[in-house]
């Protein structure tokens, strides 16, 4: 089990490398496939809570290192209303929130029904993006949802969700290599 948990950490780190090769689809409102989030979500349903929290911490901190903007030091007399950014580290909490959401389906997943978790990964990514947008609106003021934003969130979550069977297959392979059962309930003999 320990070796499998460790392998999910390495898989998450590998997802950061893969993410560098994934461009934004400019024709689809700059939507993209979020491999990092997807690997985290799929892993979260296969591991225990402590490991999920560790993955959330690693994923969140590295994602913020990837994305966060520097503060702009301008003359406050000219730029009287500076625009704030999200604080470094906020993704850690969002990742954990998504992880707990995924763990809610763990009993069904352990019965071998991974399809529900695959669908939920898309929903979780949509909620993650929605939460990010709400946080940005809260920090900067003026909450306006445009079609472009909705398209970005919808396409990103759908595109990412399409790859979730592949990630589950990878996790299944890793579990097999490290002699760990992902579906203990499904493998248990049924009692009459």
């Amino acid at each position: 089990m320990f070796r499998y948990n460790l392998s999910t950490v390495f898989l998450l780190l590998a997802a950061f490398l893969v993410q560098q090769f994934v461009p934004a689809f400019t024709g689809l409102s700059h939507s993209r496939i979020l491999f990092v989030h997807l690997v985290f979500l799929c892993s979260a349903v296969t591991v225990a809570t402590p490991t999920m929290l560790l993955l959330a911490f690693i994923g969140g901190i590295l994602w913020d290192a990837h994305c966060s903007l520097a503060p702009i030091m301008a003359d406050p007399e000219v730029y009287t209303q500076p625009v704030e950014s999200l604080r470094f580290g906020y993704s850690i909490l969002l990742f954990a929130g998504m992880g707990f959401l995924m763990q809610g389906l763990k009993p069904i997943f352990q019965q071998g029904k991974w399809h529900f978790s695959a669908l939920l990964s898309g929903v979780a990514i949509f909620l993650y993006l929605a939460a990010e947008f709400i946080l940005i609106s809260f920090v900067r003021g003026d909450f306006t949802v445009t079609r472009s934003i909705l398209r970005l969130m919808t396409y990103t979550s759908l595109l990412s969700m399409l790859f979730s069977p592949m990630i589950f297959w990878l996790l299944y392979r890793l579990a097999k290599i490290f002699d760990h059962s992902l579906y203990p309930e499904a493998n248990r003999p049924k009692r009459r």
Partner: protein
């Protein structure tokens, strides 16, 4: 709750608090470490993106010709910027002479850079260029193209830099409208992810007599951008009860940029 889960949750919260309370310097150190670690894939990813883009644009030049063309484009762009700068200085000089005033001449030194990655993040309007601290690039330097203002340097690293585009809400520019006394703050708009984003010019006077087609230039105030850099053209004006706002089309086609220029010297 199981004791192990409780301990894990407490440790997690302690870690999250630690991350949320990091100083900007520490955040930068973490980012430098992160980008250093992924540097090999970053280069490969950027190269792949550039190749795909070249393929889509049906570039049929040979590699040597393409390199030569890029070099010539960079040089032409640099010279055009310097030329336009000289023209602007000439005009400014005439105006200043007319007003019997004097202003220190500026030194406009630029570094050409290629765009290696577009929109690497979900919400921010940024791109990455292949020049960094090794070429003298620092934080908050202006980035221009042949057509006008592109943005500012957000995070410089050793061999690459992140550029915050003018279409991002966070990038505010103090501007003036040509042939008018109107000055205001120009910034991108949230959620403009289409190919033709517009900018919002705020804090204009209530009765601003502006027309579509008027050009917008930087004022040079605020300590970031040099003066008289073309930013865009007014599309429409919305008059409010207290002030007016205008929508501005950026002068630069940001979706079709190849080479940009980072202004190294400060002139304010």
């Amino acid at each position: 709750m199981k004791p192990l889960n409780l301990i894990a949750l407490l440790l997690f919260l302690a870690g999250a608090t630690w991350a949320l309370t990091r100083s900007q310097r520490m955040v930068r150190d973490i980012q430098v470490g992160y980008f250093k670690a992924i540097s090999p894939t970053l280069k490969s990813g950027s190269a792949l993106e550039t190749k795909v883009r070249d393929l889509l644009e049906e570039t049929r030049h040979s590699k040597a010709l393409e390199t030569e063309l890029n070099a010539v484009r960079s040089e032409t762009g640099r010279l055009r910027i310097i030329e336009s700068r000289f023209q602007a200085l000439e005009r400014e000089n005439a105006e200043l002479r007319h007003a019997l005033d004097f202003k220190k001449a500026t030194n406009f030194d630029v570094v050409a850079a290629q765009i290696i990655r577009r929109h690497p993040t979900t919400w921010w309007q940024t791109l990455e260029i292949d020049a960094g601290e090794d070429k003298g690039i620092g934080i908050q330097l202006s980035v221009l193209s042949n057509d006008g203002l592109v943005g500012i340097i957000d995070r410089p690293f050793k061999h690459r830099s992140s550029v915050l585009l003018i279409t991002d809400e966070k990038c505010q520019v103090s501007v003036r409208v040509e042939s008018s006394p109107e000055v205001g703050i120009l910034s991108g708009q949230r959620g403009e992810f289409d190919n033709n984003p517009t900018l919002r010019l705020r804090f204009l006077s209530k009765d601003a007599a502006l027309q579509s087609g008027q050009r917008v230039f930087t004022t040079g105030r605020g300590g970031i951008f040099q003066p008289t850099i073309l930013v865009g053209t007014i599309i429409s004006v919305e008059k409010g009860p207290l002030d007016s706002e205008a929508l501005v089309r950026p002068a630069v086609n940001l979706s079709d940029l190849g080479t940009v220029f980072v202004v190294l010297s400060e002139n304010h």
